[in-house]
């Protein structure tokens, strides 16, 4: 087994660890760095619970090898602090069990950054990438719209 030492830029900090080339980014974030906010769900790219940002864009961290993330700028839910979308999720009670919440918030935040004036079609297109088994969809939609409409 080949083990290599890599340095990743995560939440603005350089973090070094040892990985297998076959390790996915999600596992490395959780098990090597203790960043357990990104959740394992399907591990198949379907549910979005593992969503992080890579260079500001949403990325399912179960679909990326950790080695591919070298040289890229990674943000996890732990790196978001006091953003309007986090506040809006609380205000709109946009969760029940909360398992999907970090992934939804990361995707919503990427959307808000990329398209501050996103209309319904773009919102739907982006948010279809995440699944909430507690079906908090209406509240999540209200939360993201409250941020988009107030910034627009």
């Amino acid at each position: 087994m080949t083990i290599v030492s890599v340095t990743l830029m995560i939440n603005g900090e350089e973090r070094t660890t040892e990985i297998r080339y076959a390790d996915i980014l999600l596992t490395v974030l959780r098990e090597k760095f203790g960043l357990t906010g990104s959740k394992p769900g399907c591990l198949n790219g379907d549910c979005g619970a593992c969503t992080v940002h890579v260079n500001g864009k949403p990325m399912k961290s179960c679909l990326m090898l950790a080695i591919e993330a070298v040289g890229e700028d990674i943000t996890t839910i732990e790196g978001l602090k006091g953003t309007p979308i986090q506040q809006a999720f609380i205000q709109h009670f946009a969760f029940q069990c909360g398992y999907c919440t970090p992934g939804f918030i990361m995707n919503c935040q990427a959307l808000i950054q990329a398209y501050p004036d996103a209309g319904d079609k773009v919102i739907k297109e982006w948010l279809e990438s995440n699944i909430c088994r507690c079906t908090s969809y209406e509240e999540i939609e209200a939360a993201v719209k409250s941020v988009l409409r107030s910034e627009a």
Partner: protein
């Protein structure tokens, strides 16, 4: 977790990638090319794919190009599908890739990965089939340019170690009237029952179909039926259905009969829409 180990290589040139593949093969290894890697990661996890050496193509500049000159559009095979959408250079392809997977996954799935993958749903190839595009392929003599019709027959036909570098599409085709229709069973997400891409070139309708058979295709018999001048849209669609290749997929997403039923209605809708645009 991927239950086996592999080495990872990150070549910067086409030649380096091709030579790596061959030296690894000669050493008894089982290399695979990787661009978005979504199929390798997801199938590897469930033991449906094995490799001991991954050659990542996305560091090769030719594989990441998105460039339009006076006559042609060049798109790199390692472009993520979202980059294809955002480049806004090929309207039919933009609409087509927007229907693949979901937005976040499309940040990772690449154009070449979809065209060369193993899943049935490789619909990104349809706009290239309709436009008679060419593929740039890396092989033992360097780069070669081949008509898509010579290298894509159900699957991309590549010799061991060859890989897709770029697509080349004539600029004239980019503005052709077109539609891309993806019919799903019930929800907005999930695999399609059938996807149809259509374009009008020189007053003739061209059609590409994915999701009906275990492979995407463009069929000249089907197109001849759809362009039969004496028939009504329903009759053309009926005749076209009788020329579909075999086998028709029959699975939990949809039965073969249902797929054909949906396809016939979709073809009729397309014919009516184009006639409404004053084609005839």
């Amino acid at each position: 977790m991927i239950p086996f180990d592999f080495d990872y290589f990150n070549p910067e040139t086409v030649q380096e990638a091709y030579h790596l593949y061959h030296s690894l093969t000669e050493a008894g290894r089982e290399p695979v090319y990787f661009s978005g890697g979504t199929e390798i990661i997801t199938l590897g996890r469930i033991h449906q794919l094995y490799t001991d050496a991954v050659i990542d193509l996305k560091g090769i500049p030719e594989c990441r190009t998105a460039q339009l000159d006076d006559e042609h559009l060049y798109l790199g095979a390692a472009l993520p599908l979202t980059a294809v959408e955002e480049a806004r250079l090929f309207p039919l392809l933009m609409k087509n890739v927007k229907e693949i997977a979901d937005h976040t996954a499309r940040e990772k799935v690449t154009l070449g990965g979809n065209i060369c993958g193993n899943i049935f749903y490789r619909e990104a190839v349809l706009p290239f089939l309709l436009s008679d595009s060419s593929f740039v392929i890396a092989g033992k003599d360097g780069l070669k340019v081949q008509s898509i019709h010579d290298v894509f027959e159900e699957h991309i036909q590549l010799a061991p170690g060859e890989f897709l570098v770029q697509t080349i599409t004539e600029k004239n085709f980019l503005t052709a009237p077109h539609v891309n229709i993806k019919r799903k069973r019930q929800w907005d997400t999930g695999y399609p029952v059938v996807t149809v891409a259509a374009a009008i070139v020189g007053r003739r309708l061209r059609i590409g179909i994915s999701g009906l058979c275990p492979f995407p295709f463009r069929s000249y018999e089907v197109e001849a039926a759809l362009n039969e001048p004496a028939l009504s849209p329903e009759q053309k669609a009926e005749l076209a259905i009788s020329h579909m290749p075999a086998p028709i997929l029959n699975d939990s997403e949809a039965s073969a009969e249902y797929r054909l039923f949906v396809l016939k209605n979709t073809l009729t809708d397309i014919l009516v829409a184009f006639e409404g645009m004053g084609r005839r």
